[in-house]
């Protein structure tokens, strides 16, 4: 692929990388897996980039591809990760701005969300990103009613985990 396209893509991905990091944070539980999934998503985005015609915003397209990769295409790789490629300090959550009780709740919530299945995590991601039900349903290819039903179940599930 041509260097101009690659330059454009790298710039867009660098600017929008938080989208992918957030998805990796939901779907993985350690640094190596986070890096591995980030790498797979980046590869998929780059492969699909020539088909991205700018009908939607890059960020919208990127989170959809990222979720699809995490849900359908990703298989934990056995490849060794070259730690020199990406220097990350992940899962380092700053809690200073929260009081003790709230901090505890957030920790518990992150733990609870990790226990959800892949589809539920995708719904949680879109909810946290303030996507409406029309967009959630469209992204997953399900009906809006189904999206709402699933979301309500997730809320009940989380409530049970956090307040047993």
């Amino acid at each position: 692929m041509n260097p101009k396209l690659e330059g454009e893509f790298v710039g867009l991905l660098e600017k929008n990388q938080n989208i992918i990091h957030k998805i990796c944070r939901l779907y993985t539980s350690d640094q190596d897996s986070h890096k591995d999934l980030f790498q797979e998503i980046s590869i998929q985005l780059w492969k699909a980039f020539p088909n991205f015609r700018g009908e939607s915003k890059f960020s919208t397209w990127a989170y959809r591809v990222a979720l699809n990769t995490a849900i359908s295409l990703y298989r934990k790789s056995t490849r060794s990760i070259d730690t020199n490629d990406i220097e990350l300090s992940i899962h380092r959550i700053k809690y200073e701005e929260y009081n003790d009780e709230e901090e505890e709740q957030i920790k518990l919530l992150y733990k609870a969300v990790k226990q959800l299945n892949d589809i539920e995590k995708a719904l949680v991601y879109m909810y946290l990103e303030d996507k409406d039900y029309t967009e959630i349903a469209e992204t997953l290819g399900i009906s809006e009613v189904n999206a709402r039903v699933k979301m309500n179940r997730i809320k009940t599930k989380l409530k049970k985990i956090v307040n047993p």
Partner: protein
């Protein structure tokens, strides 16, 4: 406050997320993918080639077979039928190629999963077609060959009683059946490894769907 809304408060803060430079991204995107689709593609191509190998074995150039073919019109038919098989194989390859091209990571999740599952289905039907054809060919050709030996060379009178003859068939049938089962198990194992997660997620997604 609802649990998720509390989480949202923290979610919006992005200062604890890692930062990757443009140079690093430039390196990452040229690495090899380990996606399920890539592996399914590789395995499918091997299967398609395997079909060709089976076809090749079905087209025997063995002299005794050629002689036999001249005498037996059914064998002649089987020989001509193998050309039809090539057409079927080419059709399957075409179907596989068009289905594979349809897989787009930019589609909605359901459609992406359905396209992957459909692509697999094409190759599965192809393999099923090959195994059944191979099975039928083996049975019918060996039956004709044995019949020929019996009537032309007095094979059964000298060497085989009718019971032994039945046993011979039973053993042959058993060997082919065992081979098919082993083959099927390996198959299940390979695709279970690659597609279990996808199938589980697909069912979860379609759950409650009217």
């Amino acid at each position: 406050m609802e649990e998720l809304d509390l989480l949202k408060k923290h979610w919006k803060k992005e200062d604890d997320l890692p930062k990757i430079s443009k140079d690093e991204i430039g390196v990452i995107i040229h690495k090899k993918s380990s996606s399920v689709v890539k592996w399914i593609f590789i395995i499918s191509v091997i299967e398609l080639l395997l079909g060709f190998v089976l076809l090749f074995f079905m087209n025997s150039d063995d002299k005794s077979m050629v002689l036999l073919m001249e005498k037996n019109s059914f064998l002649k038919f089987i020989d001509k039928f193998s050309y039809v098989l090539y057409v079927v194989v080419i059709y399957f390859i075409y179907r596989f190629y068009t289905m594979y091209r349809k897989i787009s990571v930019g589609d909605n999740t359901t459609k992406l999963m359905e396209n992957i599952i459909q692509t697999r289905k094409v190759v599965r039907h192809y393999m099923l077609f090959n195994v059944i054809t191979f099975f039928l060919m083996c049975i019918s050709v060996s039956w004709i060959v044995i019949q020929d030996r019996i009537y032309n060379e007095g094979f059964s009178q000298h060497h085989l009683s009718s019971i032994q003859f039945v046993i011979l068939y039973a053993v042959m049938f058993f060997v082919i059946a065992v081979m098919t089962v082993i083959f099927w198990l390996i198959y299940k194992l390979i695709y279970g490894y690659f597609l279990r997660k996808l199938q589980k997620n697909y069912n979860e997604l379609k759950n409650n769907e009217a």
